[in-house]
Symmetry: C2
Subunit: 155 residues, 2 copies
DNA sequence: CACGTTATCGCAAAGGCTTGCAATTACCGG
DNA sequence: CCGGTAATTGCAAGCCTTTGCGATAACGTG
């Protein structure tokens, strides 16, 4: 659904280093997961990722995938946002973060660039000392096209 | 966790009318659910609601509760937002909508009033024709206190 | 290169939520 | 107040995700 920009190559050597520094290990499972994540344009849900990994290595286990996603996220290599239904959607951490705009009627989504978000982020920082996590931001509502017509939930 | 304002009384007669107009029915199960929802300060997750309803009527069934929540939301009597983990949190539709701010470190949350959100909502409307759904808005990041210290995920 | 420590894996079970389907019952009309 | 139609309910089964636990295997050391 979301088709974002490039496909940044993740230097596995660096990843391994990243993990090692945190006392973590570099395993074939983690490598596969990261590889698939990296190959994927846009975002993936946990179950999608499990499926994709399985198509490469049928032995892939859900628990390992989900746990690995957390580990990679803790280390800062991966990020997640939430889809329209609240499910987590993962992606390799991009150079410049962005949030998402979801139309609750047609289900389409758009990216919110950091420039566009600057004003609101600044406002929360200024008035609350709150540091907004842009890549985690999901704004739901109705897009221009759907805003005119009535109706609710498509999904 | 969230303890919002008043406990608005829902006039059941009106609700019944609301439903009837949409060709829907007023059943004891729906009444119980709405009653519990109305009695609850702040937001509830689906499973919380099931539990609360069960403490009143042990015969309460999850599927009915979840389905009823959707129906009530479609009719406009109930709304939901997303917690830190993405789970839906329901509440009787308040007179004035508000969004939420969640600190991903300490887990605390605050309300974003419509006045405070006006600028950002206006910006999306102006620049994208996008109509933001404030009561569905969940902004995640780090609160003032937690922003200084490092660390990730508390939960 | 073998060994020990301990992070990680795979499994199984459980919790949260959704969905198909047959039985029930709210509601309208007579 | 009775009967018929269609919305709802309850159940069972299923998907998604998390978690405890024993077995496995990275990785650093000797």
């Amino acid at each position: 659904m979301i088709v974002s920009g490039s496909t940044p190559d993740v230097p596995f050597a660096d990843v391994r280093e990243h993990l090692r520094r945190a006392g973590l290990r570099w395993t074939p499972q983690r490598r596969l997961i990261l590889e698939v994540l990296d190959t994927t344009a846009g975002h993936v849900t946990g179950s999608d990722l499990v499926e994709r990994c399985r198509s490469i290595d049928p032995a892939t286990t859900p628990s390992t995938v989900y746990r690995t996603l957390r580990v990679l996220e803790d280390v800062g290599l991966v990020r997640h946002a939430h889809g329209l239904d609240g499910r987590e959607e993962f992606h390799v951490r991009p150079a410049d973060e962005h949030g998402h705009l979801h139309c609750e009627v047609c289900g389409e989504s758009w990216e919110i660039g950091s420039a566009e978000a600057a004003a609101m982020i600044g406002a929360f920082r200024r008035e609350r000392g709150f540091e907004v996590d842009l890549s985690h931001l999901t704004v739901v509502g109705r897009c221009e096209r759907c805003a005119s017509a009535p109706g609710r939930r498509t999904k």
